[in-house]
Amino acid sequence: MLFIPPSPIFEYLTLSWARDDKLAVLYSHYDTFDIVEIWISTKIEPNSVSWSTFLTVDMSLINGLTDDFLIRFEAKSFFIDEEKKVAVLFDYKVTETGHYQMAYIVGDNGYFKSVNIGVISNSRWLGGKVVCSSYVPSLLQL
């Protein structure tokens, strides 16, 4: 098995990457969904991947969560910064005036910051998916 979730039933399970060809996994427990766990790969082969814990964030310890973070958050896209020991989670926020792209930065000791990146649409009903993607500069000729 390349990765075994701690429990087969969970709130969300999302795959991402880190610098230097590493995979990262974001996992939230079904029963204690405010505990967010992030793993990072230590070895990657097509047939085997090994993991170590990168960050365990207890969202219930974070005071004054903004933008209904825990209620609305669906981890569809994220990336981690190994050096700064933070994860950046992407989602959107719905208000009376429209849909907004959001980035949530989480880290050790209850570090939490939300950033409104910009408007997706001016409609309450029409939204969009916010995803981040990695790109390493490449000299590949097309």
């Binding site: 390349l2 795959l15 993607s133 097309l142």
Partner: protein
């Protein structure tokens, strides 16, 4: 359309099927650094393989499409989430759903769901083990 932002180059590729909003793609390369695209083309009507997707590889060196040999008839979960490309291969979370027919209603009931990580190997052009 392919795009290398670093060189500012673009290139158009003719898809094998008519494009659909559910189509998804992943990039990879083999040991000669020959790049390839893994494509999940959505089929409105369940297709010849019994699943709703045609899985193909586009080879940059020959500019042609090849069908991926894959025994698993359920790849729906794989197509809804984008994979992560790493060291030439692409990793996905896939899901195995076990169903059981209910005798009275003749409906299928989901009895077990298992999520697992899967690698598409761009050298062999096959999905790896769980």
């Amino acid at each position: 359309m392919l795009w290398n932002p670093y060189l500012g180059q673009t290139k158009w590729i003719r898809p094998r099927n008519t494009l659909h909003i559910f189509d998804s793609f992943a990039l990879g390369y083999n040991n000669n650094r020959n790049h390839k695209i893994l494509s999940f083309f959505y089929e409105d009507e369940r297709n010849r393989t019994g699943r709703g997707w045609n899985i193909d590889v586009y080879d940059f060196s020959s500019n042609s499409w090849r069908t991926v040999i894959d025994d698993n008839t359920y790849r729906d979960e794989l197509c809804y989430h984008s994979g992560v490309s790493l060291k030439g291969n692409t990793y996905f979370f896939d899901r195995e759903v076990t169903t059981e027919a209910q005798v009275r209603t003749e409906e299928l009931m989901v009895t077990n769901i298992e999520d697992y990580l899967l690698c598409f190997d761009f050298i062999t052009e096959r999905f790896g083990p769980r």
